[in-house]
């Protein structure tokens, strides 16, 4: 029996999205291969790893994950710089403090903070609102305006609030995170709506990342299918890169909070699973896992 390696090539290619501007920009997407299939073609860009920063002093973070940042958690800019020193490709700021059910910080304060960070940080920035779809309109619009031209990646936008935020994002030259609740049809529907306001090179998909044991298989399969639809079947409305905001999901569960080593694995195993499924940005909390995942991505593991 003669063996012939079953290599495949694909017609679809992901859109390339640039986050940040000038020297400190990073690019994601652009590849026409399946995740980690470097044996079937070169990838324009590989997955990048972001570390998470919040504006709420790491409230609710377990001690063993907040540890490396203990002295800087009340200064988001210093915290963001520490993330970069510890090997992150970019920083993901969560505006937890704007949550109306929490400290309910005003939009202007959040926008000023983001401006301060982009001004002082030599790296691109992802900005997540608190997830309250009404408050996020206010906050994310203010952030987009305050940071005009910085080309942030801003989100999440959902079907209830995408229009106003997408307008501000488009007018001020940023990229947007389209978030849908683990459903490939809703994901495509939101992409199609957003494409009326923004070019595909400005959109990143967030199909929601669930932690290992808490629905991870759904996120895994949605990402895997999204990537197949985009790359194998060439569906233009599904060719945006994917962000997996998984660190916070992993570290909030009991199994991760109860034991440091178990927490590290909860995050890294969720991350490698979603990397294999097709993530282009992994958002993590622990810097050791950031280094580990970068080894996997760069072919050093």
């Amino acid at each position: 029996m003669q063996y012939k390696a079953p290599l495949e090539t694909y017609t679809g290619r992901l859109k390339e999205v640039t986050i940040g501007s000038g020297r400190k920009a990073v690019r994601i997407g652009g590849q026409n291969i399946l995740p980690l299939h470097y044996f079937e073609g070169a990838a324009a860009n590989r997955c990048v790893v972001a570390l998470e920063v919040d504006d709420n002093g790491a409230a609710g973070w377990a001690g063993h994950v907040a540890g490396p940042f203990r002295d800087v958690v009340n200064d988001p800019l210093k915290w963001a710089k520490r993330c970069m020193e510890m090997g992150a490709d970019l920083v993901c700021l969560h505006l937890e403090g704007t949550d109306p059910q929490g400290s309910n910080k005003p939009a202007a304060e959040a926008a000023a903070l983001v401006k301060e960070i982009t001004g002082g940080l030599d790296a691109p920035l992802v900005v997540y609102g608190c997830g309250d779809d009404k408050k996020d309109i206010e906050v994310l619009t203010a952030v987009a305006e305050a940071c005009k031209g910085d080309n942030l990646l801003i989100g999440p936008v959902v079907k209830e609030n995408y229009e106003a935020i997408a307008r501000a994002v488009a007018e001020n030259g940023h990229c947007i995170i389209a978030q849908t609740p683990i459903d490939i049809n809703l994901e495509k529907e939101l992409n199609v709506k957003l494409l009326k306001q923004l070019p595909p090179e400005k959109i990143v998909i967030d199909p929601l990342s669930s932690a290992l044991g808490y629905g991870m298989e759904y996120s895994f399969t949605i990402m895997e299918r999204s990537r197949q639809v985009g790359v194998v079947y060439g569906d233009m409305a599904m060719q945006m890169p994917i962000i997996a905001d998984l660190g916070r999901e992993c570290w909030k569960i009991n199994q991760a909070r109860a034991d440091a080593e178990q927490g590290m694995l909860w995050e890294s195993i969720t991350a490698i699973s979603l990397l294999l499924a097709g993530a282009d940005i992994l958002v993590l909390r622990h810097p050791d896992n950031c280094r580990l995942l970068k080894e996997a991505i760069e072919g050093k593991l």
Partner: protein, 455 residues
């Protein structure tokens, strides 16, 4: 590659027109259709020629052969997978997780590893998770020592065994000790292939072939098949994560998409030999779970590192066509008492996890009633008629919650606010309270609710 009934019928006696009925079916065509669907054995046809019979058996065999390691209740079945991606159907046989024990390790380390393999287990969504096999490695240079360790493992545990030994005589001596246990023999290469074949013909074992790259495995498995040995595992010898993704993908594709028989076997992976660092090892193991390995050998296991890997294995091998469902019952959260609030939701595992974790985060002790609803979320269960007043009421009566609390106040999900009236009618002694529409509002909602009762 699956073969169609219409193809099979042409190969039957007299071109499928004999219709002797001796197989018990009315026509050759019916027999062919039944063969194609796996409902009858080829030898039921008394007139089929041996060549055609062999050919058909080959064509009808599963594209990735199922392989059983070990014996009895602990036996591990791997392989028989039919898809590259779980969403195409489902992955079927979870990979076996092995623990490596070298014969130069201290006696107490060896015993501890055997103990951990036997005893470590976890409950997760009503399932028991545990590791599966012991991998015994010859490293000491003293065959007697290796033999003694193999004997110890044989008596201490009934689990499947893998013998890892580069010295052929020592490997085959250990294999002889394992008579009746059907261990895995590794590594089998061109050097020891013939000796292994004659030993395995005497005393069944699973042959794990090792090559340098995918293609190098082909002549090994072809020779084994020629010798009638098909309980085979493949190790392409991948050195790192990305070449492992490549090799595993190529093997799976060759078997499923090309119908390439020589690679139609489950694979074995050794994160334990790829790195000396525990976290890196676990990350490699976690890559091998979605990327097709059927047996994964780790250098060691412990409570905290094993659980996440077993949960990942469960997640990836869960059938995506069947929603994960929780057992119907009342779940206590944060140590509730008779005065604590009672909430109700559906039994989709994801719904339960989200609601339970938000209740937990609220720090309010509460009783969470999980009603059987076909593994659906709240709205879909309501739409399917599985979460409505007339079926929630009997559940509340029989689930025992009425004996657990001294009040009659029930919080229902805000998404089904519309069932409030029908539920009030069905449960006249209960006050029905409409809770938040989104679980993430629970941490703010519950403390306020409890406070309002006290005030």
């Amino acid at each position: 590659m699956a073969i169609k009934g219409t193809e099979i019928v042409k190969r039957l006696p007299e071109g499928g027109k004999k219709n002797c009925k001796e197989c018990g079916l009315p026509t050759c065509f019916a027999f062919a259709m039944k063969l194609a669907s796996g409902g009858i054995a080829v030898e039921k046809c008394p007139y089929i020629s041996p060549e055609v019979s062999r050919e058909l058996e080959d064509a009808l065999a599963p594209p990735i052969r199922p392989v059983t390691i070990g014996r009895g209740a602990c036996a591990l079945v791997v392989g028989d997978e039919t898809v590259l991606y779980r969403h195409e159907k489902t992955f079927v046989h979870q990979p076996g997780i092995g623990v490596l024990i070298a014969d130069d390790e201290l006696g107490e380390v060896v015993e501890d590893k055997i103990r951990k393999l036997r005893e470590l287990h976890f409950s997760w969504v009503g399932k028991t998770l545990r590791a599966d096999l012991l991998a015994l490695q010859y490293k000491s240079g003293d065959p007697a020592k290796y033999g003694a360790m193999v004997k110890k493992a044989l008596t201490a545990a009934d689990c499947p065994l893998m013998l890892i030994c580069e010295d052929t005589d020592t490997l085959l001596n250990a294999h002889a000790l394992c008579e009746g246990r059907k261990p895995v023999l590794y590594p089998v290469t061109a050097q020891n292939l013939e000796k292994v074949i004659s030993a395995v013909k005497q005393n069944p074992a699973v042959v794990a072939v090792k090559g340098a790259g995918v293609e190098s495995l082909v002549h090994l498995t072809s020779r084994l098949k020629e010798a009638g040995i098909e309980d085979v595992l493949l190790d392409p010898g991948s050195k790192d994560l990305q070449s492992a993704v490549r090799d595993q993908t190529l093997i799976r594709r060759a078997a499923l998409k090309q119908g390439f028989r020589a690679l139609g076997y489950p694979t074995v992976a050794f994160p334990c030999f790829m790195t000396a660092d525990k976290r890196r090892e676990m990350l490699l193991a976690a890559m091998f779970i979605p990327k097709y390995a059927a047996v994964i050998v780790l250098s060691d296991i412990d409570e905290h590192t094993l659980l996440p890997l077993l949960v990942q294995r469960l997640n990836i091998y869960t059938d995506p066509r069947i929603p994960m469902a929780m057992e119907e019952k009342v779940y206590p959260i944060n140590n509730p008492n008779a005065g604590s609030p009672v909430l109700i939701t559906t039994n989709w595992a994801l719904t339960y996890f989200i609601v339970a974790s938000e209740v937990e985060a609220s720090k309010v002790p509460a009783w969470l009633c999980v009603k059987e609803s076909g593994g659906l979320g709240v709205l879909t269960a309501w739409a399917a008629g599985k979460f409505s007043g007339d079926n929630i009421a009997p559940f509340i009566r029989k689930c025992g919650v009425e004996g657990m609390v001294n009040h009659r106040r029930l919080v229902i999900p805000g998404k089904v606010a519309r069932i409030r009236n029908e539920l009030s009618e069905a449960l006249p002694d209960w006050q029905i309270i409409v809770g938040p529409g989104d679980a993430n509002e629970i941490p703010a909602y519950l403390p306020a609710l409890v406070k309002s009762w006290k005030g």
